[in-house]
């Protein structure tokens, strides 16, 4: 994000408009990340709100030092999801992605297939282990670099590559299992 450092500095001084700009920039990614982890829209909205509230109230504690703001937000999101499962202790309930949550730029003709594809991928991702989910979502959905993912998850870049490899292997196996068998 251009001039992100400037907005962060202003937000640290209490400028809510500056934080609003950061909010607008990152909320789609954080919401998407959380929704793919918890599956239920209501839970995803609650947790997303909590993440940004936490970030706004504690932005004074954020210091760059080579650690990007996005990684800091993702770390708050990861911890929020962990706490959510710790307190709720319920299994993931897989919901189909409501059409209203899809981008409005989707072609109308592709909507049905699009929804089905997204649902299938969501289902597959939901079956991964938490660390694998985190890496897959951050890297391939939100386009974070290995370094940013490593910083967000407090792991080494080497560990991230290993987790990514295992996650893709697991996803392939899940998709192969779901493929209809040819007669």
């Amino acid at each position: 994000m251009k001039d992100e450092d400037l907005f962060i500095k202003k937000a640290k001084r209490g400028d809510e408009k500056a934080f609003g700009v950061l909010y607008d920039e990152y909320i789609p990614r954080i919401y998407r990340f959380i929704l793919l982890k918890v599956s239920r829209k209501q839970d995803a909205e609650d947790l997303t709100h909590q993440v940004f509230l936490n970030a706004w109230q504690n932005i004074n504690r954020y210091e760059f030092r080579g650690f990007p703001f996005s990684s800091w937000l993702y770390r708050i999101a990861v911890n929020a999801v962990i706490d959510f499962y710790r307190t709720n202790k319920h299994e993931q309930r897989l919901e189909t992605t409501p059409e209203e949550d899809l981008s409005e730029t989707s072609e109308l003709n592709d909507t049905v297939d699009h929804v089905l594809d997204i649902t299938a991928v969501k289902t597959a991702v939901a079956k991964l282990e938490p660390d694998q989910q985190n890496v897959i979502i951050m890297k391939f959905v939100d386009d974070l670099s290995n370094k940013e993912v490593a910083q967000a998850l407090e792991k080494t870049e080497g560990a991230i590559r290993v987790i990514q490899h295992r996650a893709l292997k697991q996803l392939r196996a899940i998709f192969n299992d779901n493929k209809p068998k040819e007669a």
């Binding site: 809510e16 909010y23 909320i27 919401y31 706004w56 949550d101 594809d117 991928v121 979502i137 893709l168």
Partner: protein
Amino acid sequence: MDNNLIQNLKKLKNINPNHDFVRTSRISILEIKQKPALNLNIWQSPFIWLVPAMFAVLLIVVFNLTENKGDLSSLSALNSNHILQEYNLGINIQLKEISYDQKVNQTIASALSEISDTKIQHLNRDILTSEEEGFDLTEPTDQNIDALLNKVIF
């Protein structure tokens, strides 16, 4: 295969939050004030005035102690040997009081038993016995005293 998989994953980018949720959440978050940052700079603390005040109180206390008591080491309150002596003295006093109280109780008990004794005896037998032991019947009597006694009795 992986390319296909990754393309499918990228389709998840099309998931976005509901506009109403985003608007409502944004407003409610920005309405809340930030938590004040922990300020470790003592010179900006609202309680900075406490520092010289406490320092002044400490100075006054130390000054009083050194002026009135002279050598601080002679304070009995600070000398463990004196403390021990005072403690032992306290115990001894208490023991003597207990002993005294016991004697008083015995005397009272004797007096009460003498008063309550309904037999016609003018004097306590133990007292008579003890006095008798002190009598020396061979001692010459004083005739003047005898005369006076006879006068009184008869």
